[in-house]
Subunit: 606 residues, 2 copies
């Protein structure tokens, strides 16, 4: 079975607020932008050459992710207006499905004779998102109209790609369908979809006819070798993350230890060598890609929101397969930082890229160069030409329930802490907490044989009010009743592996799962380079109306204007004497919500 | 008068060795590459559409700079073969000069009808280099054939641009002619060339008809405002440096205090905010340009060799105008570091860009991205498509005599120390030194009223064996005889202004004028990030056969493999305990001469 929301209700606190904003602001805003830009209209497949709003090869995926998001909202909150928009989209999709099952608004309107001829053109990627939307919509509403459409489409794909192999390429240029087919299999019980998913996975980099991918390197699309042999995360990070997720799905469903081992190697490569402290991945704009180990520049960090999401999916699948808390730690790292930074606090504007530092001077004052250096944007946008991130954010926010807990035999494993109610077969668990404002978590269990409480990797001290045994990073409690878990959550200064060149002489502040950042607006408008942070921090936690999670103020020093460009270390000529200062920090995800101002996660150490 | 070599002989030591290599290896190598690539043949103006080796708009400038270099060699070392190559070039230029004086092999062969229609096409830049070559060749050989050609050409330019203003643009897109016309004025005594130079300078950014420069910003070509109002170095760094040099020339020759003040502001902006510790300028590849203050990235540093040279020219002009030692300090900083790094130790390969760090992993192992990130090259090339740097290096090496000393009233000012003999009107000065190996300098003067010895800005302790007075950074000695100057030259750890983000937590080692760099090849092949340098250095100086200047070994620590990507500062989990180590450093200019290996000027501080 697919994940559904049966049994988990997020009832209050930070996550409930995020879901409310998603429902009331973000989901409608994404729809409106997609409507205005022609993405809804495109589904009618009536566009003609010369008309404006030419459909794009990935527009179906944008709509599909929005529809999936709408399904998650509708599953919990009836909304006739939202439902009618969703139904209208489904009308247009089903009306324009080809006789043989094919669905794609771009090819159908623009170049029907070329369908399935170009591996780079995202058809299977769009198909995957349509499948995910159909499954979600079916679970949300019980209506299977779209599900039937995508089944027919999946059957066509199975015939052309796997059975007949009558198409010029055999695997998608942009992965996604692999994990989607697993969802379709779980929903329908039809083994052929799992088989097709495994076919795509095992054909990739093997005999997938991929002699050329638009002139770019095979690594870009994870086609450099059979996936089972991979040990290094390479290429376009979103593609990679979706592929790895599908691999983990297939591996656990089929008990494929070799494939699971490849997943573990790739996960380790990413999380030990290629992930920002915010959970962002894919550090380079060139190819939106993973690069080499420890190449994690701050100012030019690409760290696409979708890439963070794809790694969250992958980590969650490994958590479900292996049960080790480190996977849930990664989900949490991404969720509170590099994922959430993709959304404005207002809920209607988005980052595609998520840099770890902003020196505004570099970005807006440089009139000197021809084209300017390439930097990530520093103002969230309402919509992008390539607007994959906004509806990816809405579907994750709409499905946060998935990350709360898992069954593991007799045990209920609590993976992520949020105010919630979990109702299962004969048991009820209520979790009361203001996490991550504090680490105090009350749990009331009725009818449960065993409870597992994740002890986060960032936590050095904790208490559980009941006897427990530590297992895979979880405090396991037998026959739990009412109990409390206290996670000590001091602000901590973090440092990076020495090979991360941009982090030399710098530290980042983290409190619980939340990574903090400096913004100039809170600190006299100065560049972050003018402050030195004290490793002891001596942090105080404070609320600020603009931000849903607490701010921190920490000890440091302020460097007055330096009178030199270079000077001897021991020379007092032009010496600058730092003076003690308190430095205000905000949660990283909340940066760039108050106008253009400098930002830094990694601060100079005093 | 122009500078000539009358009176200064570089007689031994480092500079004499550089000049010998230039004469024996570099000048012939640049000629051979230019010959092979068709640059010599192009001067015959016989190229036809469809043939290979299509002439390029800036090829005349390449040839001209080579010819200027050859002149400097011939002035000191008769060489029939070199002379016949130079004469052949002059034959071709004079044979193909137009009736009205126009000279340009590209326009003459490719598109004669379009001459002087496109400000972006380097005609005046090429004209400037031809003028410089002609002046140098005249001084070297006494033959004025090319000088007459360029006078006729300059007369044409004067008529079309200044007198008639009958051309669609009034100032060069790429500056150079301004300073060249001043040389022509000094050589011929004809005031009109000075007037034309001043016309180009004052028309720039004023009413130069520059409404559009190829779609790029006016700042790119220093056309954003009248030059007298400028206070920020902007745009293409080589263009800027040549313009500023011409401005300083005109300002001093005409006693134009306002123009000189603009020069000082621009010089201060560059040297206090926009110059690498190596003397490199123009930090961005985008537009080969200056960017914003303190934006001096190490790994992507553009720092074109020609830009360093242009700032050396500019600094020298200001030194000659104002007499303050800080200008000579800048000449020295550039000469021993960011200029010399442009040439391989073998003398026949060149860097266009001069990065301050190289992590080889970023550059050769990144198979993951579509295009790859853009980094400077890390292997010197024999020739470039745009091969401006090699003949710029040869002409500077050929004319190092210019930088040795100046007359200032009765005084002879020694600006740069090298083994040399200076013979003037009634006086002789012999300088004996192994500088910059040591700071011991013996000076024997005969018949001189006053001697000025520059006390370099990097020098904290010095002694002079005779009584002296400090003036403008020079130790002034009356009626000098035999004396010694001892400049204390310990290795010193330098730090950068806090706003230079890439230098956070890092220091660079400098000894005398020479900036040092780490190379992996000397230190176990490790990345520089694995070493921490101790501020006390405790340096030892040693010779190594591969390098003409001494190497250093300094105190530091080695960081064994770290077991974490991120960890709490105070947490011993995954702790890495650095162990004491000695770190070997080489002069920066000598990097990348022993294969691909990591390099860093700015090392992590322990």
């Amino acid at each position: 079975m697919d994940f559904t929301f049966d049994g988990v209700t997020i009832s209050g606190g930070f996550w409930a607020d995020m879901q409310k904003k998603n429902r009331e602001v973000t989901v409608p805003a994404v729809y409106d932008r997609f409507y205005e830009t022609g993405r809804v209209e495109a589904l009618a497949c009536r566009w003609k050459e010369g008309e404006p709003k030419r459909p794009h090869i990935f527009w179906d995926s944008d709509i599909a992710k929005w529809l999936e998001s709408a399904a998650y909202v509708l599953a919990k909150h009836p909304d006739p207006d939202l439902e009618s928009k969703a139904e209208e989209i489904i009308d247009l999709i089903s009306e324009n499905q080809w006789e043989d099952g094919y669905i794609n608004s771009f090819y159908t309107s623009v170049t029907p004779e070329s369908r399935f001829t170009d591996r780079t053109c995202h058809e299977l990627y769009c198909a995957g998102h349509l499948i995910e939307a159909a499954v979600a919509y079916y679970y949300a509403t019980g209506r299977d109209r779209l599900l039937k459409c995508v089944e027919k489409y999946a059957d066509l794909i199975d015939r052309l790609f796997r059975v007949e192999q009558s198409v010029p390429f055999l695997t998608p240029g942009h992965e996604e369908i692999e994990l989607a087919l697993v969802r379709l299999f779980r929903c329908t019980g039809k083994e052929k979809y799992l088989t097709l998913s495994r076919f795509f996975i095992d054909t990739r980099g093997n005999n997938d006819r991929d002699t050329e991918y638009n002139g770019v390197k095979h690594e870009y699309s994870q086609s450099e070798k059979p996936v089972r042999e991979m040990d290094s995360a390479l290429g376009h990070a979103v593609r990679a993350g979706y592929l790895y997720t599908g691999m983990a799905d297939v591996a656990s469903l089929t008990g494929d230890a070799e494939l699971l081992a490849a997943c573990r190697r790739l996960y380790d490569d990413v999380t030990r060598r290629k992930m920002y402290i915010t959970g962002g991945v894919g550090s380079s704009h060139a190819g939106e890609a993973f690069t080499v180990p420890f190449d994690l520049p701050s100012e030019t960090a690409y760290a696409e929101t979708c890439a963070a999401i794809s790694m969250m999916f992958f980590s969650q699948r490994l958590l479900e397969a292996e049960g080790e808390s480190r996977y849930a730690d990664t989900v949490e790292r991404i969720l509170y930082n590099g994922f959430l930074s993709g959304l404005s606090l207002s809920g209607d504007a988005f980052f595609y890229e998520n840099p770890l530092s902003v020196h505004v001077r570099n970005r807006i004052k440089n009139t000197s160069t021809v084209h300017g250096e390439r930097y990530p944007g520093i103002k969230r946008q309402k919509v992008f030409d390539c607007s994959c991130c906004p509806p990816n954010i809405t579907r994750v926010l709409g499905s946060l329930e998935r990350y709360v807990c898992r069954r593991n035999g007799d045990a209920l494993m609590i993976d992520q802490y949020t105010d919630s109610l979990i109702e299962g077969n004969g048991y009820t668990v209520r979790i009361s907490t203001d996490y991550p404002v504090s680490g105090e978590i009350r749990v009331s269990c009725r009818g449960l044989r065993s409870l597992g409480l994740r002890i986060p990797g960032w936590c050095r001290e904790f208490t559980v009010s009941e006897p427990f045994a530590l297992e895979n990073g979880y405090a396991m409690i037998d026959a739990p009743g009412d109990l409390t878990l206290s996670l000590s959550m001091p602000a901590v200064l973090m440092i990076a592996n020495p090979e991360v060149t941009d982090c030399a002489g710098r530290g980042a502040v983290q409190r619980g799962p939340v990574v903090y950042a400096y913004e100039g607006i809170d600190n006299g408008g100065y560049s972050p380079e003018r402050f030195l942070i004290s490793p002891e921090l001596n942090a105080s936690v404070e609320k600020d109306a603009f931000c849903p999670l607490p701010l921190l103020t920490v000890d440091g020093e302020f460097i007055p204007d330096a009178g030199y460009l270079y000077k001897p270390y021991f020379d007092e000529i032009g010496e600058i004497r730092p003076r003690p200062a308190r430095i205000k920090l905000i949660p990283y995800f909340a940066f760039a919500n108050r106008g253009l101002t400098d930002m830094a996660v990694w601060m100079r150490l005093g």
